[in-house]
Symmetry: C2
Subunit: 246 residues, 2 copies
């Protein structure tokens, strides 16, 4: 099973509908769909929520509501609480990146919860006492308080990254083989001589410069085809010019 | 110098003041302070911006505005453009985590820019043609479109993480040395015998269970002191009870 399906995001009495909506969107971006609200306020701004959730409003629609945090996590194995404050009994905190593999492992066998406090106060010691893990999100010392939905995003992102489910885009064209690159450089050498950019005795020097420029990063077969096309055209043009000059 | 001071976040014609404000806050959380707006709209909602920026409004106050992206990045070495779409000419994209060390290295010698398009359309091919690097933020295939400020946050977070400037909280109390742990287990063995929880012949078995429980994670000196206090008290209580029973 997909451990992300076993992970719930628990928001304790969030103040702003916009943050709840942005939380839904961040969850959907990162493949987490279970949202639990603890003691939700009756005056949550639903218009703002809907606007910020954008295409992820279903996550709010399918939310669970519980009157207390204890009830929201009663069936969870791992319960991770997030905190920006670092007082007594919070010193065993670790970062989302450090916890992520551990949380995923736990979520393979039981439900796991990541818990976020209200925007103004964060999680109380009472809330944290229900948590088996404490999460501290990296930030500068001068401003440790993150927006609620940003905090959710960073945790969800680290879980999604650690799940190995993201397949980065891959270039359709493979890296050009050496033989093809060499044909390209040979054509460029001829082209640069033909158009009079360099003289025979300077050619090796200049070609080493060009090799450096074109070896800074990956060069795909498609890249090489473009570069060979340019050289070809330059050779043709200078040939035509020579013909007409004769 | 701190390479984060050489990195600018460039927002091209953002639509919503709230997103610009949340961007400022995310930047301040992650130690990046230079904000550039390209062709900003005159009707940006400043109240929303101020509310979402929270304590980071200074970053907006100190922003630079430029009419075009070309002008916004004219003095930058590395220019990284973010995109959710992955068509032709975007296939050499890499993730924020993959680019981060490279961006920091470049930012040690020259200004570097991370560029984000408007909320509704993202960066155009014209914008991307000014970028020397393409950034793709990991997300599920089913919902690749991130909120603007969330996208900024993930990029800023990866840069801050890669900068090595975050010092995670450390426990004030060191991990308990073996000798102290053994004294604790000896006291617990006596306590559990004294209160009649186990009999002599089951003691080793039970103590192995207790050792397992208390060895699941780090056990600090402070933790051991608490556990020793409990055992001590249990020994005292059962002693008192025995005295009174005699």
């Amino acid at each position: 099973m997909n451990p992300l399906d076993n992970i719930r995001i628990v928001l304790v009495s969030p103040l702003y509908g916009g943050n709840v909506g942005a939380t839904c969107r961040a969850m959907m971006n990162m493949g987490i769909s279970r949202l639990v609200l603890v003691a939700p306020r009756s005056d949550l701004d639903l218009d703002e929520l809907r606007m910020m959730a954008y295409h992820a409003f279903d996550i709010y629609d399918n939310r669970t509501e519980r009157p207390t945090l204890a009830e929201a996590v009663a069936d969870c194995g791992l319960v991770a609480g997030t905190t920006a404050r670092m007082g007594l009994y919070r010193q065993h905190a670790r970062t989302p990146r450090a916890w992520a593999p551990h949380i995923l492992q736990s979520a393979q066998h039981a439900s796991a919860a990541i818990v976020f406090g209200p925007e103004d106060k964060g999680l109380s010691n009472d809330h944290l006492s229900l948590c088996t893990r404490i999460v501290q999100i990296p930030s500068t010392e001068s401003y440790t308080s993150l927006n609620l939905s940003q905090a959710v995003m960073l945790c969800a992102y680290e879980l999604y990254e650690a799940s190995g489910q993201f397949k980065p885009v891959e270039e359709r064209h493979p890296e050009a083989p050496s033989e093809l690159r060499e044909r390209m450089f040979a054509m460029w050498e001829k082209a640069l001589l033909d158009i009079g950019f360099m003289e025979e005795e300077k050619a090796m020097h200049m070609m080493l410069g060009l090799r450096r420029i074109l070896s800074r990063g990956t060069l795909s077969e498609a890249d090489v085809q473009i570069m060979m096309g340019i050289a070809n055209q330059a050779i043709w043009v200078s040939g035509e010019l020579r013909k007409r000059a004769e």
